[in-house]
Amino acid sequence: MLQISNLSKTYPNGVQALKDVTLNISNGMFGLLGPNGAGKSSLMRTIATLQDADSGTIVFDGIDVLTQKQELRKTLGYLPQEFGVYPKVSAEEMLHYIARLKGISNDKERKELVKALLEQVNLYNHRNKYLGGYSGGMKQRFGIAQALIGNPKLIIVDEPTAGLDPAERLRFNNLLSEIGENIVVILSTHIVDDVNELCNDTAIIASGRVVQRGNPEDLLNGFKDKIWSKRVAKDEVARYQSEYKLVLSKLSGGKMVVHIYSDTDPGNGFVAENATLEDIYFANIS
């Protein structure tokens, strides 16, 4: 459905945000995983027609995204990484406004749609409240509601769970999991669990390049029996880093745990560990 080919982008300040990115994405929830500054948002914004690439093409369902922006926008739903709201505008007013802009000029249709959306994302009770007063989770649910207006075939959701508290995050992912059928949904995140929970296809992106690509299961299979862990003292981490292929080091109960990548049992007190997406993620971005 969505073919991204050889996409490159360098910003005027010299930062190369995308380096020859090629991805084929089909229907369903696609997870784009990467640390901050990896180029996720650049890629998302480019797909969402908000910025241009220096070279490469993006084609969605026959639409050349970079030249037929207007055409793409007609099938696009976009929840940006960061968005504000006008002061003193209620959720309902805002949805009407966006629905109008999305071409739903029939008043009756629009009214029904807005009502249904508000109900589905559980904001109906707060529909007359100003958006400025919404909590993070409510705001993101509003965001997904507006993205869903007008039967989009391509939905881009950019870091939706950043900044949400755990309960809000769960609730939001729950909502997100329901919309990925028969359309392309691209979810960018730096939270590995999001991808774990939601996606059937994923790519890991670091420093503007796609470094891993595939079904999360397949990716995990590739790491099977290759991750080993050990509890170490804090001042030993540097030594381990130089001796092994260190994937990550994290705190656990006040002590450090290091994960290393090794095809064979490294001994030396390391125990086998079940690989998680987190390991894959860190192995790829380090």
Binding site: L101, S105, E109, V121, K129
Partner: protein
Amino acid sequence: MFSSIFSFEVRRLFRAPSTYIYFLVLVSVTYLLALLSAGVFPEAKFSFGGEKINANSPLVIDAFFGAINQYVGLILLVAIVGNAVLKDFKYNTYSMIFTTPISRFHYLAGRFSASMFITLLILTGPAFGMMLGYAMPFVNPDRIGAFMLLPYIQTYWQTIIPNALICGTIFFSVSLISRDIFVIWLSLIIFFVANGVASSIFSTLDQQTLSALADPLGGFAKRTITKYWSTYEKNTRTISLTGLFLYNRLLWMAIASGIWAIGYSYFSFSSSVRRISFRKPKLTESSKINFVPIHFRKDALPVVHPVYATSAMLRNLWGLSVNECKTLLRNVYFRIILLFGMLFLFLVSTQIGKIYETTTYPVTYVVIESLSGTFSLFIVILTILFGGESVWREREFRMSNIIDALPVPNWVFYVSKLTGLLFMQVILVSIVLVCGVLVQLSKGYTNIEFGLYLRYLYGYGLIDFWLLAVLSVFVQTLVRNKFVGYFVVALFYLWNSIFAGIVLKHNFLIFSSDPGVVYSDMNGFGHLTFGFVMYKLYWAALCIAIAAATSLLWARGTERSMKMRFRDALNNENKKSWVVVVVSLLVFVGMGSFIYYNTHVLNDYTTSEQQLKELIAFEKKYGKYKTTPQPKISDVQLQVDIFPTTRGLHASGTYVLQNKTNVAIDSIHIMLPESVKINSMSLDNHSVLQYNDSSVAYRIYKLAQPLLPDSNITLSFDLSVMSNGFQHNFSGLSAPLYNGTFVNNQSFLPSIGYNPEYEVSDNGDRKKYGMPYRATSNAINDSAGKLRNLFVHDADFINFEATVSTEPDQIALAPGYLQREWTDKGRKYYHYKMDSKILNFYSFLSAKYMVKKEKWNNVNLEIYYHPGHEYNLSRMMNGIKKSLAYYEKVFSPYQHKQVRILEFPRYATFAQSFPNTIPFSEGIGFIANVAGDDKENVDYPFYVTAHEVAHQWFAHQVIGANVEGSNLLSESLAQYGSIMVLEREYGEDKLRKFLNIEMDKYLSSRSSESEKEKPWAFADAGQAYVLYQKGGILMHAFNKYLGEDSMNHAVKRFIDKYAFQGPPYPTTLELVQSIRMSTPDSLQYFITDAFEKITIYDNKLTDVKLTGSGTNQIIEVTVDANKWYADSTGKETLATGNNYVEIGVYKNRKTLMTHQMYLLKPGINKLTIPVAFKPYKVVIDPRMLLIDKKTQDNEKRIDKDKTDDKNQKVAAL
């Protein structure tokens, strides 16, 4: 504590590059101003307070220094002082600072004084800029006086520091209270506008003290000191900190301290970022709800059918535009500015149409002009502000990420934003309408012309705001920052409305310009509409192109480099927009060509520079004929057909020319205005056209036989005047009008001989083009000048007869008595004939008139007026009667049997006396509200009428020679007549208000004289302030000093001797002689002082004391009496000799009980005045007979209590 905060802050500001940038900007702007005023750019004529004032005179230094600081300085104060505390909130450092143990006072005082200190350092910039500029080697040395350091120091110390402290305190306190930078900027705007409007309202004479104290920046107070300074004083004196100026400074420093204290007490170390906040707390969902999973079913959403067709977009557009407009109207700042605007509207409405401090009736057009003039500034500010606001809103509220990715073409966003803005302007303009109607109703005026409101406000007013809105949004779309956008638009607006006209000269290069529209009740918008509409179509076409370009370059997405936007704009999706750009640019060019064709081909347009060159060329070519003997016109017979609908004129007729010289004349020179088309022209006796320069319409006819002395020859001519298309500049009375034609003979009929009036009179210009010095007028003993009268060079007194025709619904008029009136082929004809000889100076008028007729002693009195302008007809009628009665009694019989007043459109605002015919502008007097609420109002319709009727004597009976001073014989004497009639009608008390205004006008006008002030007897025609104001005051003084009978007898003797005489014509010397004959020896000095010198009194009442009681009261008065003689630059020398000065005693504030002449020696005089009533105050020269520069110290109240006190003390001793 304080010192560490202070020094940290100062160090920080010293490191900030902006500090140096501000300073450099101030230095360079004033450097340029200094060069400009010092005549470095001769093209830009720039003078401040008179051409003879040095560019570096203390007054100019003060004005530049003060003005720069008032505008740029206030902005700096907001930026630096206003931010001194706010930056802690902006950068979130407050949480660190507020938790340290510093005291609130140390924190605020430290921040305030540090930022104030740096600002004051920056504000020294203008002084350095000016010093540098004036010291440049390439300045014009004539414009520069000796260097003085004192004025810079004085201005800095007296004006800059106090003003910075006052305003800085205000902005600082506002920042403490509101904690919002926008509110501070808003307070700055309000401060600017309030100051401007207040100054226009409190400018009347009797509110001088109040306005001097109320002005926080002290400008008014300073003006009370410098107002009457002469050129000499302006170049040498510095402004000292005394009197009202000192009180003003003290008062406002005290107020500033109070404001600081308020700000201080409001401030606390609390974390709330905004003190004024309407925010509600955040919504939260209870944790219980949070764990309820959401069951989202996409397929349960209703099916919708998005439509992206243009028609659907257009439907959406309306909703979006309304949404935009609503957002603007909901804005708190919008509402605040609007409220202030409306408040000012009502303040302004009290001052509507003031002339002689008397308002006019709130006639619709007057109300519209007055209110929309004030309000347009608000509309412009709001347009600039909200143009930026609406373009940047999405990005500021970070909504753009969502909005920009929606399937909406750029033009929908753009058009909705623009429409919102345009709609906001419609609402603002409607507010003028509503306020206008309210003002009219509140004044009890009910003839509300709604049609005119609609046409004026929406038809002629709105379009300029719309054009500005398009431009404002365009600029905001291109710039990277909203504030840069504001700056660019504001700068362009200033440039366009003030400087572009001077620099570019052609108005089709000046954005949104037009030739000018003036509404007249008589002529409506008249012929001006066509040109206006063409110009606006031209600009509208450009703006549509700009609009389409704006929509193409609309900033969308996260990366908005111009390169990317251009790439997007060239996209195939945008073909239609490009078509719009191209088509509207084609229309723009087409309209431009059409305008050029009208203004430069069909009509003549020359810049003032070109005109100057043409006149110089004319003088060089034909000046040699100046002394060539020419015959004079003795009889005029005319047939003038006026065509109001086509604005044309056809004239045919004959002049009889008589050789009044003693030599034979062999050729006759004839000049005509260039715009006139000559159908035929011939002289009898087989004369031939020997020379014809059609570019300036100069003809020379060679006579077959020379014209011998005293013999006649007849000139016949047939001419047309046509109006084609529209002109580059506002064209008022120059050609016939749809209704209200007023043309005089000099504007379209031939004149005989070289006309020296065409010579360039400005000697600066003459020097530039290598022409010799030319005196502003002929010397008083110039014998050639005495052979010509003041008004016309080619005739003395003539016989006059004319037939005038016009369209049937109008009445056509010319001087003379109506002999016959008939209709022929659908046109009305009027035949007028004069029964006695008149000056060769007459006019033709035609309009849809109503006529008011009365009769007074066999004289027919008629007023031809526009229906609806009946308000003051009886005052005018009364004016005619009282004038005729007085003038016939004291001067001589009236030479005609009719007086007619004829109203003409307000394109010019004067009244002018032709023989028995007085055209009178609708703009003066016809709608004056003399009977209004203020009993002190000057009845100027009455006064102007009396002045013009007096001209039937002083101009039409006695006319002066074409030499210096002769205008006195018409204007000052007419002024004398009208003042006397005014005094008899309204009494001395009311006349005093009039004289007070005249005194102020004289003193302040002489202060900005551009050449040199001449003594009254030698005054030039251009020195109106001498001829009218000083002349009126002095003639009135003669009347009181010599006695009414003696004075009138002196004038009568002069009239008797010179009426209808000439050549040779009389000069002022003859009048002076006649007055001297009626003057006792003791007062001869007074005549000399008045006519031959520039005399200024400076009398002062230093002490008054009341002694005695009952009928034996005596006032002991101490007078400091001084008289000064000024030279032509205003340099004064103390006069010796004694003077008669009147001293009066008042019973109460307004009633003058006794007045008596005293002979006072220079310096201190002690007098005793016995009074038989309870005196209230003593006044020197209570009847305003002397020119006194400072009348405030001429009176002293008799303080009863104090006197009693003293008496008791004396008794106790």
